[in-house]
Structures are given as structure tokens and as C-alpha cells.
């Protein structure tokens, strides 16, 4: 089994390095095929591992020693257990599809080879993240995906907005990663190890307040990666990257790393329900908060990005309330339909010459039937309509909230479910139905390549059927994760009905409201609309209260402290030496007589020093 583990882990990096060989060249078609094949290899290996884990085998290897200093020992260790293998399956499956899809999507791009190199490197980092058997290894993967995300968001680096978004994402993650590092340090400090098995066994014996601190710091790290409030702004801006990147990184895999961390640390978070409750509350808040922003946005990809944010909030609610398997379940289901949604959006974007405003589209159903159907499937799944994947997972989250008697959380999530359905179908209606407004703007949309659509179809299938395997999934992952006791058997059917009702209500409202194209522009002068379209003014607030003061502070440090103190002192040292040299170069006239004189002078100085020191020495001793 070890061999399969290594194949699953290292196949993507081989692909990445292979693609990197051609990095500076224009499009080399083989690069796309080779990387896709290698990611597929990884998928196959993951599937084999899944089989093994299903048979109850947990694969654990130690590649080599990484750090060994005193008592501190960290190996490059990898572990494949129930949670890991699910993540591996999700990652490799979505990656494979996105790779194949990208062959078509990036067809005309100059950076074709570079793109595949980055994308495969990302998959490798993600695999390290999920497979590592210790927190430090996870952190390596964590940073690796951060770097790849930065590279891919800023892939079109000649665009100012892309580089800005890349930097924003990277810096925001850095802030969170600092907290995460502190959490890891604290873990080592209090438990003496960073190996999962050791720290989970140790967690119950340590001081509760320390444990809570660790939990909070690790969660702040997760907040950054999963774009939870208040570190959420980067995710929407990250849509500057190519769409496959958004599908893979900013929907299916990387952003769920935060959820994965909480699930992975389940034994620790189980011991601190108060932190869990905080996580759940924040998750519910973000779910609502992001959904409202998605209601009015006029950017195809941003709407989906907000939707991702909202769904991540759902996952955190489940994870925070101790229903880790539910969170993982929703993570998986979400990865499928959200990636599908993004890839569909990519098709639309391709067809519309990179136009992203759904108001300028409309009626695309006629020209892009397959894409439209795929996106509708994804949206229905996202909205949570039976029998699609989203129904099972989202409904479970609501049940979790209800059974814990967290009625406010449940209420929030319930409303959000309606909003989710509404904005999903607003998007669908505006894009694919109604009047063919794109003609006014002179677009000539066309359907995407066949193989791109074929590549997307597995996702569509999974988005439909993933929920049907709920029981098998539960049995599988609860071998490792704690089970969750639902106390809602008496109201289960009512809850399902209520939830489905609001979801259906949202869909119907959207269809009715947008059947004739976008609403009139009167809307846009209203206060609520302005708040929402401006993302609650949060970017502006950050700009004004964080970025501006920081810039001014930097300015002061630069002009006052750096220039006038640091630089000046360094310059002064340099000038002193220079002037001394200039002044004393007369000494080196080459005249032996002068040199003799200097020699005598030196002798005098040395002798004086010798006498002075010996006198001083005697004075001290005597």
C-alpha cells in the first residue's frame, strides 16, 4: 500500500516539474496531457488506497526524518485514514477533471505550460496538506497551497487587478498563518509533539485554557484559508485568476483546508465545546453574510465565490457543533457541485469573451444547452433539492443545528438556504434565460469543446448521486470521527419539509422575478442594495482603517526612521571609512623613509598600549 501512497503523493509533483521544464516556452500540448495523466494516476492510487482503508487498513509511512533536535522530532510522515482518503479522493478527482478541462480552457493562452506546472504543484501541496501525519507537515502543505494560490490568482500578472488580488490573498493568508504557527508552537510547547496521534492522546490531560488557546489559534489559521469573516475579502477578489483555478482552488479544495483542519483536530475540538460554538456561530454568520452579498452581485464568478463562502460557513457550523462527519460530507458534496458550477461559469465566460456580467447575457440556453443543463444541476444541488447531493448534506447541517437546540443558528441557516436557492437561480435565469441581451453587446457565444463538457460530466453525476451514499459514508468516516447523536427523530420530516420548502421558495421567487431579465435599475438606488453591492463596505473599511494608517506608518518609518536614522548611520560609517582612507592614503607614498617613520610611530603606539595595559592589569591585580 505504501507504494500507492507514494504514487498518489508524488505523481502531481512529477507532473509539475515536467511542465516546469517547458515553462518558458509557448504552448506545448503534451504538457497538458502528461500532467492530466499523472493527476489521474494519483486518482487511481487514491482509489486503491480508498479500497484498502475500507478494508480497515490505515496506511502510515515515514518517508524520512525531517527535524530532529533534542526531544523535538518531526518526520516527513504520511498517513492515510478515513478522513484523509476522502479528502484525497475529492482532491484528485476534482483536480483530474479540472486538468482535463484546462486543456481546453487554456488552449489559447500564452502561459499554457506554466499554468499546468502551477496547477500540478498545487495538487501536490494539497496532497501534502491532507496526508501529513503531523501539524508541521500540514503547515508545509498549507503554505504550499498558499504559494500556488498566489501564483495562480496572479497568473495573468500583466493585469494590475490580478496581481493585486494575488497579493491580497497571500497577505491575508499570511496573517492567519501566523496565528496558525503560534497554535502549532503552543501545541509543541504544551504537549511536546506535533504528531497527530500524540497530541490527540495528550489533549485531554493538558490545562483547559491552554487547549482553548491552541484551538483558537489553529482556527484563526483555518479562518484565513477558508476565508471566514473578517479575513474573507480575498476570496471574491481571487476570482481574477483563470476559472479552472477558481473551480479547483477557490471552491473545491484549498478553501476547504480550514474545514479539514477542524475535522482533523476533532479530538481536540471535542474537548472545548465553547470554541466549537464560536466556530459554529461564526460559520452561521458568514453563511448569511456571504449569501446576502451574492444576492445582488453582477459578476458571475463573484456570485459563485460568495456562495462558496456561504457554504464554507455551513461546514463550519457542522464542524463547530461536533458533527465532523457532516462537515466532511458537505465538504465533499460541495466540492463536486461547486467545481461544476465554476467550470460551467468558465464555459460561459469563454463563450462571452471573458464577459462576467450576467445582466449582459440572457438567453444563452439556446446556444449552450449542455453547459446550461450542467449548471442547472449544480445549482439545484447547491440549493439543496431532493434528491441531489446538496439536499442530503445541507439538510444534515440544519438538523445538527436544530438537534443541539441552537435555534438561532438553525434559523440563520434556514434563511440562508432560501437565499442560496434564490441567488443560484438568479444567476441561472439571468445567464441562460430571458431576453437575448448579449446581442446588444455584440457577443457571439458558442458552446465549449466537447471534451471539456465530457470532463465536467463526472462532476455532474457526482453532484446528483453523491448524497445517496450517505449511510455508507457515515459508516466509513465514523470509524475515525466521532458520531453525532441526532435528537430530531420526531421532527425530522418536518425539518426536511421546511428546509426544502424555503429552498423551493427561493428558486421559484428567482424564476418569477427574473423571468423577464434583470430588474429595473430603480433598485440600485436603494440603501440595502448599495450596502450589499459594496460588500457591506468592508473593503473600504479595511482600506481606510487598516491599509491607509499602515501606509502612513510605513511612510513615516521609511522617511523618518529608515532614511534618517538607519540609512544615515550606515552612510555615516561608510563615509567615515572613505574619508579616513582618503586622508591616510598619503601614508602609502611608497617612500621607504616615510614608512620607517610610520613604523616607529606604530611601535610607539603599541608600546604605549602594552605599558598602559600592563599598568592597568597590575592596578587591578594589585
Amino acid at each position: 500500500m505504501e507504494m500507492y501512497l507514494y504514487i498518489a503523493l508524488f505523481a502531481p509533483i512529477v507532473g509539475s516539474l515536467f511542465a516546469a521544464l517547458f515553462g518558458a516556452q509557448p504552448k506545448t500540448p503534451i504538457v497538458g496531457y502528461v500532467t492530466s495523466a499523472l493527476i489521474f494516476t494519483s486518482l487511481v492510487a487514491s482509489t486503491v488506497l480508498l479500497g484498502a482503508v475500507m478494508d480497515g487498513e490505515i496506511v502510515h509511512v515515514e518517508l524520512m526524518t525531517w527535524i530532529a533536535a533534542g526531544d523535538f522530532y518531526v518526520p516527513f510522515g504520511f498517513q492515510v485514514d478515513q478522513v484523509t482518503v476522502i479528502m484525497m479522493m475529492v482532491v484528485t478527482l476534482v483536480s483530474t477533471i479540472v486538468h482535463v478541462y484546462s486543456i481546453g480552457y487554456m488552449d489559447h493562452d500564452k502561459g499554457y505550460n506554466r499554468f499546468f506546472s502551477y496547477l500540478s504543484a498545487f495538487v501536490f501541496s494539497m496532497m501534502v496538506l491532507v496526508m501529513s501525519d503531523n501539524l508541521l507537515g500540514l503547515f508545509i502543505g498549507w503554505e504550499g497551497v498558499g504559494v500556488c494560490s498566489w501564483l495562480l490568482i496572479g497568473f495573468w500578472y500583466h493585469k494590475e487587478s490580478a496581481t493585486w488580488a494575488a497579493n491580497e490573498a497571500f497577505i491575508m493568508n499570511r496573517i492567519a498563518d501566523l496565528a496558525m504557527l503560534i497554535g502549532i508552537f503552543l501545541t509543541y510547547w504544551s504537549m511536546g509533539s506535533v504528531q497527530y496521534d500524540v497530541i490527540f492522546a495528550e489533549a485531554q490531560y493538558i490545562d483547559h485554557s491552554t487547549l482553548v488557546t491552541i484551538g483558537i489559534f489553529l482556527f484563526i489559521g483555518a479562518m484565513g484559508k477558508s476565508a471566514q469573516f473578517p479575513l474573507h475579502t480575498w476570496l471574491a477578489d481571487a476570482m481574477e485568476g483563470p476559472t479552472p483555478v477558481s473551480a479547483l482552488i477557490h471552491a473545491a479544495t484549498m478553501v476547504t483546508a480550514g474545514v479539514y483542519l477542524v475535522i482533523r483536530c476533532a479530538p481536540m475540538y471535542d474537548l472545548m465545546p465553547e470554541v466549537g460554538y464560536f466556530i459554529a456561530s461564526l460559520g452561521a454568520f458568514v453563511a448569511m453574510f456571504a449569501a446576502t452579498m451574492a444576492l445582488v452581485n453582477r459578476d458571475l464568478k463573484r456570485i459563485i465565490a460568495y456562495s462558496t463562502l456561504s457554504q464554507l460557513g455551513y461546514m463550519f457550523v457542522a464542524a463547530g457543533l461536533g458533527a465532523y462527519w457532516v462537515a466532511l460530507f458537505h465538504l465533499m458534496a460541495h466540492a463536486f457541485f461547486k467545481a461544476l458550477l465554476f467550470l460551467g461559469a468558465g464555459n460561459v465566460m469563454h463563450a462571452m469573451d471573458s464577459e462576467l456580467d450576467p445582466v449582459k447575457m440572457g438567453g444563452l440556453f439556446k446556444v449552450m444547452k449542455v453547459t446550461a443543463i450542467l449548471m442547472i444541476i449544480a445549482s439545484v444541488a447547491l440549493a439543496g433539492i431532493w434528491p441531489l447531493a446538496g439536499f442530503f448534506s445541507k439538510d444534515k447541517i440544519l438538523e445538527v443545528a436544530f438537534s443541539g437546540e441552537h435555534y438561532i443558528l438553525w434559523g440563520t441557516l434556514w434563511v440562508t438556504a432560501g437565499l442560496t436557492a434564490f441567488y443560484s437561480f438568479r444567476l441561472i435565469m439571468l445567464t441562460f434565460f430571458g431576453e437575448e441581451r448579449y446581442k446588444n453587446f455584440g457577443f457571439h457565444p458558442h458552446e465549449a469543446y466537447k471534451y471539456m463538457l465530457y470532463a465536467m460530466s463526472p462532476l455532474a453525476v457526482l453532484a446528483v448521486i453523491a448524497g445517496w451514499f450517505e449511510h455508507q459514508f457515515v459508516d466509513f468516516v465514523t470509524q475515525m470521527l466521532p458520531t453525532f447523536e441526532f435528537h430530531t427523530h420526531h421532527v425530522e420530516m418536518i425539518l426536511i419539509l421546511v428546509t426544502s420548502a424555503i429552498a423551493l421558495g427561493g428558486i421559484i421567487t428567482a424564476i418569477v422575478m427574473y423571468r423577464n431579465g434583470p430588474l429595473s435599475t430603480k433598485w440600485e438606488s436603494q440603501f440595502a442594495y448599495k450596502v450589499l453591492i459594496n460588500q457591506y463596505y468592508i473593503p473600504q473599511i479595511y482600506e481606510k482603517f487598516l491599509v491607509q494608517p499602515y501606509r502612513e506608518l510605513s511612510d513615516i518609518f521609511w522617511k523618518q526612521i529608515d532614511m534618517k536614522i538607519v540609512d544615515a548611520s550606515v552612510d555615516a560609517i561608510a563615509t567615515t571609512f572613505y574619508n579616513t582612507g582618503e586622508a591616510t592614503r598619503g601614508m602609502q607614498s611608497g617612500n621607504l623613509s616615510t614608512m620607517l617613520k610610520w613604523m616607529v610611530a606604530g611601535l610607539v603606539i603599541l608600546l604605549t598600549l602594552a605599558v598602559a595595559f600592563s599598568v592597568g592589569y597590575i592596578a587591578i591585580i594589585g
Partner: protein
């Protein structure tokens, strides 16, 4: 009027100073050699005096070796000097400017 060690040391100091003056102001290489002889001899006086006043022969030994060194220095130094003179026709220190950068 007892002659003490200090008298000898003062004498030694004066002679050493004279030698150093010679080293510094002489431009003629031959004269420079003379000045170094003076330096060595002034130190010899000091050694001999200390040896005498402390009843220890080590000082005299040192003086003896210094004389030996002085002799060999003269032999080699003069050899070099002659060579230099044959080549350049001058033993003026200021003329030796090959070290000028």
C-alpha cells in the same frame, strides 16, 4: 657617587633614542645600517647592566646572541646593498620607489 642600574638604563635609553633618530632621518642606506647598529648596542648595554646588577648571566647571553645577529645582519645587508648599488647606482632611500602604487 654610586652608579646604579638606573644610570645604565638612562644611558641605554639615550642611545636608543639616538639610534631611532638616525633610523628616521637618514636617507643614505649605509647610514641607516649604522643607526641600526646603534639601536642594537644600546640594548646590549641594558642587558649587560641588568646581568651585572642581578648577578644573572642570562643578560650577557642575550647580548652575546644579539651581537651574533648583528654580525649576520651586516653581512647580508651589505651584500644586498652592494647588489642594489651595482644595479641602480644609488643608495638613496628616496630613490627606492618601487613600492609606490
Amino acid at each position: 657617587m654610586e652608579i646604579t642600574l638606573n644610570h645604565y638604563l638612562v644611558l641605554s635609553t639615550i642611545l636608543f633614542a639616538i639610534g631611532l633618530i638616525g633610523v628616521m632621518r637618514r636617507k643614505n642606506l649605509l647610514m641607516l645600517f649604522f643607526a641600526t647598529e646603534i639601536l642594537l648596542n644600546s640594548v646590549n648595554i641594558g642587558f649587560a647592566a641588568i646581568s651585572h646588577y642581578y648577578g644573572d648571566l642570562t643578560g650577557q647571553m642575550f647580548a652575546f646572541f644579539i651581537i651574533a645577529i648583528a654580525a649576520s645582519e651586516v653581512a647580508v645587508g651589505l651584500g644586498l646593498l652592494v647588489l642594489w648599488y651595482k644595479r641602480n647606482g644609488s643608495i638613496d632611500l628616496d630613490m627606492m620607489s618601487t613600492m609606490k602604487g
